[in-house]
Symmetry: C2
Subunit: 411 residues, 2 copies
C-alpha cells in the first residue's frame, strides 16, 4: 500500500497527481446536464459512481445517487472497504474490462463540485500545541499561555453547521459588534481583523450512543477534508467571554470538495507527540492516530500572484481526531453520521508553520510581507486564500486537492 | 383574543385547562397502532391532524403526516395563520359539523408524545439578568458579576442538537473529566454537581440568509417550548475556559412535547425591562418581545412527593428570543427551519425565583430543604424534575404542559 498502485489511466500514475489509484476520494459533482452525483477522482478525471451503480458495476445499495455521501457512510466500514476494493479492481492496470468504466469518466475541467456530505453538526477544537501556545502568549503572556485543562482534554466547542460551504464559495466579510481596548462603548461595524484557520476536518461516518473509546472513535471516522475556519478576531475578542466564540465563527467555514478516506491515509499514520502530562486512560492512544500530511496556505491579492504564507504538517497536532471524538462522547452525547470535527488551527514550531494570520502577523504587530511586496496583518477584500494538503508516498501522493475562498467586501 | 374562546368540547373550557381553544399547540403523538402523527391538544383530548388532513377537512399540503412539524413550519406564516383559523372554526362552540372532527379526537391518556420537531441546530443563551448576576457573583464576586459585554449583546453559544430529548425521557447521570480546587490532577468520574436550567426554547420556523432585524426575527419564530438544559457543573468548571461549555451540556436537554405557537401567546406580550445601557440599533426592540409566562420547577425524590423549588416568569428576561435570533444573524450566519434557541436559565430577583440548583443552593453552600425534609444541593439519582409554564388570560390559560425528566444513576 505504500507503493503506487498503477492504473490503466495514465494521468493517475504521475508522481505529482493528487488522485492516484491509492486515493479514491469521495466527492459530489454535477455537469451541465447531470447531477449532483457521488463520484471519485482518478488522475485528471472523475468517475460518476451513481452511473456506475446504475449500470450494475458496483453496488452501494442505491446510496450513490442521493447527491451526498451520508447514506453511504451509514452503510458502515465493511461497505466502505468493499467499495474501495471494487474500485481498485476496476481501475487498476490490467483490469479485464475497462469499457463500461471509461464510459463514466468525465474530465475534471467539465464538472462542478458540491458539498460532498450533509454536515450533521460541527464542532471545532483547539488541539495544536503550537497554536494554543502562540495565541495564549499573545493574550496572557508565555508563562500562562496554556489554559490549565489544555494538556488533559482536547478543548473544543460547538460551531455552526449551516455556515459550512464548499471550496470555491466566496465569503462575505462579516459585520458585528466590536469594542477596541480604548473605546468605552461597543459599535457595530465590518470586521477589521478577518482571519483564516488552517485545519483538517474529520467526518464521523458511523453513529454512536454513549461513551466510546479512542479505538472505536477511530473506527467511526470515515475520512478527512481540508477546512478553513474563517474567524473574525475583533468580534471574537468582544464576545467570547464567558461562553466561547459564537458570531465570530459563524460567517463561513470552507471545506475541500474531496473527502480523503481513512483507508487511503492508512500508510501515513504517525503517533501523537510525547505527552507532557499523562492522559487519563479514556483518552490514551493505542496506536498511531495522526497522519503525516503536509499542508500549506496560499494568499493571492486580487489580480496578483499567490504567496505561500504557511507550511505545516498535521503530524504536529497534540490531539488526534479520534481522541477528540472519544472526548466528545464522554458525557453520553450521541454522535451522528455526518458530524464534522475541526482539528483546530494547525501550527508548527516555526514562524513559517503558523496556520493563522493572527499568529503569522503576531496580532497585527508584525505584518507579513508577501512576494508581491504587499503586506498583510489580516485578510483584505479581494484576497483569495487556498489551503492545500497531501501525504507523500513513494512516487505518489494522496492529495486533498485545495480549499479555496475569496473574501468579498462587507455588504 | 384575551377572552376564552369557547369550544364544543367541555373540557377545553375549564379555567385550569392548559389547552383551551385559544392555545392549539403543536405536538407529535402515536397510539399503539398509529403514528407518529402531527396533532394539537384541545381540553383533555388530542386531535389527529394527519387524519383530519387525509379526510380533506384541513389542508397543510401533506405536511401533517410526516411525523414532525418542520415541513409545516416551512410553509410560512400565512399557512400558520390559516391553519389556526381553520382549527378554531372546527372546534369552536356552535361549529356546524362536528362529527368528522370528533372522529379524530383521542384521549390524552391513550397517546404517547414524541419530539414535535427535528432540531436543526441548538444554541443556548445567557439572557436573564438575575441568573447572570447570581452566577457571576458566585464565581467573580458581586462587583465583577456581569461580564463587560453582557449588557450589550445576548451572550450565547452553540449546543448539541443530537442530545435533545422529549419530556419523559430518562436522563443518565454523565461522567466526565473533573478537577476539584484542591486536586493537583484531574480524574474521570461521575458528575457530582448535576443541575437543571429552567428555560424557554424558541423555535425558528422560517429560514434566513444574512442579517435580519429584531422584527424579522420575531416573525420567523414559530413558537416556544419548555426547555431543561441539564448541566454538569463540575465538568463545566474544568472544561469551559477558554472556549465555553461543551461536554457539560451534551448529556441531554429536555423539551416539552407541545409547541405553544406565537399566535397563542400574542395577548401576553410584555416589553423587555428598561435597558441599563442603550443597545446598538440592530438589537433594539420595536414592540413588546417578551411574554408574561409563569414558570415553576418541581423536584420529586424517588417515591416521594414533589416540592416546588422555583417559581419565576419569562417576563424577567433581559433579552428576548427575537433579539437573540437577530444577534445570531449579525455575522451573516444562515438560520434554518427547526433551529432551537434556549433562552438561558430564567431566574428572577428573589431566591425563590432562581431557575437552577446552582443558584438555589448557592453552589452547594446553602442546601435547599424540600417539603419532605430531604435537602438538595444538586440533582440526586432517582429525582424527577418537572418544569411547568402557562400564560394566564381571563378565565383561561395558555399552558405549556410539562417537561419531565428523571435522573438515572451513572452507568
Amino acid at each position: 500500500m505504500t507503493q503506487l498502485m498503477n492504473s490503466w489511466l495514465p494521468s493517475a500514475n504521475r508522481a505529482d497527481c493528487d488522485y492516484p489509484l491509492n486515493n479514491l476520494p469521495c466527492g459530489v459533482a454535477s455537469t451541465d446536464g447531470n447531477g449532483p452525483f457521488c463520484c471519485t477522482a482518478i488522475g485528471d478525471k472523475v468517475l460518476n459512481l451513481a452511473k456506475l451503480e446504475a449500470a450494475g458495476v458496483i453496488d452501494a445499495r442505491g446510496t450513490l445517487s442521493t447527491g451526498s455521501w451520508n447514506a453511504f457512510f451509514a452503510l458502515g466500514p465493511a461497505a466502505w472497504e468493499s467499495q474501495r476494493e471494487r474500485l481498485v479492481a476496476l481501475l487498476k492496470a490490467g483490469a479485464p474490462d475497462i469499457a463500461t468504466t471509461e464510459t463514466h469518466l468525465i474530465a475534471m475541467s467539465a464538472i462542478r463540485m458540491h458539498m460532498p456530505f450533509k454536515v450533521a453538526e460541527f464542532k471545532d477544537f483547539y488541539a495544536s500545541r503550537d497554536h494554543a501556545f502562540n495565541v495564549g502568549t499573545m493574550f496572557r503572556g508565555a508563562d500562562n499561555a496554556l489554559p490549565p485543562n489544555w494538556l488533559h482534554i482536547p478543548i473544543g466547542y460547538n460551531g455552526r453547521a449551516s455556515s459550512i460551504v464548499v471550496s470555491g464559495t466566496p465569503v462575505r466579510r462579516p459585520s458585528g459588534q466590536v469594542k477596541g481596548p480604548d473605546e468605552t462603548v461597543p459599535r457595530f461595524a465590518p470586521c477589521e481583523r478577518f482571519d483564516i484557520e488552517l485545519e483538517l476536518g474529520a467526518i464521523v461516518g458511523q453513529p454512536s450512543d454513549g461513551q466510546i473509546t479512542v479505538d472505536q472513535a477511530d473506527e467511526n471516522i470515515f475520512g478527512y477534508v481540508l477546512l478553513n475556519d474563517w474567524s473574525a478576531r475583533d468580534i471574537q475578542a468582544w464576545e467570547y467571554q464567558p461562553l466561547g466564540p459564537f458570531q465570530s465563527k459563524a460567517t463561513a467555514t470552507s471545506v475541500s470538495p474531496w473527502i480523503v478516506t481513512k483507508a487511503a491515509l492508512e500508510p501515513f499514520r504517525v503517533s501523537t507527540p510525547a505527552r507532557e502530562r499523562e492522559l487519563l486512560p479514556h483518552l490514551r492512544d493505542t496506536k498511531p492516530m495522526l497522519y503525516d500530511i503536509a499542508l500549506e496556505v496560499g494568499l493571492a491579492p486580487e489580480g496578483e500572484a499567490e504567496t505561500i504564507i504557511s507550511r505545516t504538517n498535521y503530524c504536529t497536532m497534540y490531539y488526534s481526531a479520534a481522541q477528540q471524538l472519544a472526548h466528545h462522547t464522554t458525557s453520553g452525547c450521541p454522535m451522528r453520521v455526518g458530524d464534522l470535527l475541526g482539528s483546530g488551527t494547525i501550527s508548527g514550531p516555526e514562524k513559517c508553520n503558523r496556520g493563522s494570520l493572527l499568529e503569522l502577523s503576531w496580532g497585527g504587530k508584525e505584518p507579513l510581507v508577501l512576494d508581491t511586496g504587499q503586506s498583510r496583518s489580516f485578510v483584505e477584500d479581494g484576497d483569495t486564500l487556498t489551503l492545500r494538503g497531501h501525504a507523500a508516498g513513494k512516487g505518489y501522493r494522496i492529495g486533498f486537492g485545495s480549499c479555496v475562498g475569496k473574501l468579498l467586501p462587507a455588504s
